[in-house]
Symmetry: C3
Subunit: 148 residues, 3 copies
């Protein structure tokens, strides 16, 4: 086998492997190869209609794609933090979404600003130190972004 044939044959396998391992080809490019869809959803409005819309969106994504085929993360911050408080009007729906595999996280910066602590929040939610940083980093990792 001469060098030209050799390079031709190994490039498809090796170049992809190298780039993927090196983290240089972004996640959404990997999605093109059939991997899981990934969506980060932002809730930053203090508006129960928006909270319900975000939960509807998550439900539709799972219904259409199959829950096993899509990672969904809802990040609540700013006035949106009310969605995840223990007395939230959508608390039952948030618990249900989490039970269905949706990741739901509250912004600790916002909580500090509003003097909220974990006992003030729904027991089922997770936490991130800064909601806006989380949303930015998810996009950098190739996640799609939905702002209901």
């Amino acid at each position: 086998m001469n060098a030209r044939n050799f390079v031709g044959r190994v490039l498809a396998a090796v170049a992809l492997a190298v780039l993927l391992v090196a983290g240089v080809v972004p996640a959404h490019a990997q999605q093109a190869a059939g991997a899981k869809s990934k969506v980060v959803m932002q809730v930053s409005d203090g508006d129960a209609a928006k909270w319900n819309l975000a939960l509807n969106n998550a439900k539709n994504l799972q219904a259409d794609l199959g829950a096993a085929n899509v990672d969904i993360e809802i990040v609540a911050y700013g006035p949106g933090i009310g969605m995840l408080k223990a007395d939230s009007v959508v608390g039952a729906r948030v618990d249900e979404a989490i039970g269905a595999g949706v990741k739901v996280v509250a912004c600790e910066n916002t909580m500090r600003g509003q003097k909220l602590t974990k006992p003030d929040m729904l027991g089922s939610v997770g936490y991130v130190s800064a909601g806006v940083v989380e949303i930015m980093q998810r996009q950098q990792q190739g996640w799609a972004y939905i702002r209901p």
Copy 2:
């Protein structure tokens, strides 16, 4: 020609070709090479001011870039579906945008939820089964996302 020189010369051509053909390099990377700009716009508010803003945005994108150089898709869902109803206050502007080459689609999930059928909608619009899935997939394909 020794192997080192050979690899140096063919990598630029072959690696790119392989990655592009394999669909591994995402669409917006291909845009960097001078291809068409692509933008998906979300309309999910039941607010005529937002509908007009989305239509203004589309118009400005076409004016600035040239209509032939940008693909624009407006996806209306949730409370935004009213933008595309037959009695929409912006119906004439929607028709005009579609005439100018903007793709405008309504979410069938939302329509079902609001007991709307195609005769209730503007005759010019298209349809997608789930607006939020469409928006996610466009981003996965490398489209920019604007949420007016």
Copy 3:
């Protein structure tokens, strides 16, 4: 050194270099290699609470990541243009953000539509001809997008 070993060793270096130089690997993939984070933030609501939220978001991004590690650009257009007028209720905070390294730009299309000229605006802000085009292009360049 045989050809197989040679290709294995040079691919990591050469393939990446070629793709980066060719502009084929998008900016956010380059970010994965440890470069600066980049975020474009949209302000298109005529709502001072949203203006403050955008400024809070910028502050949190800088606090969490270190101001030297993140490029932030706030683009105000449509009803959001009020954020950057000389009489803006958040004028002092806008000046402060710009002093802290945040780029803040007003949409000249919007200004024309509202008969605003540069003397009507805060002295510290910059300008882009079309806010929506700027936001689209930043995403094409690999910037994350936040719409507070």
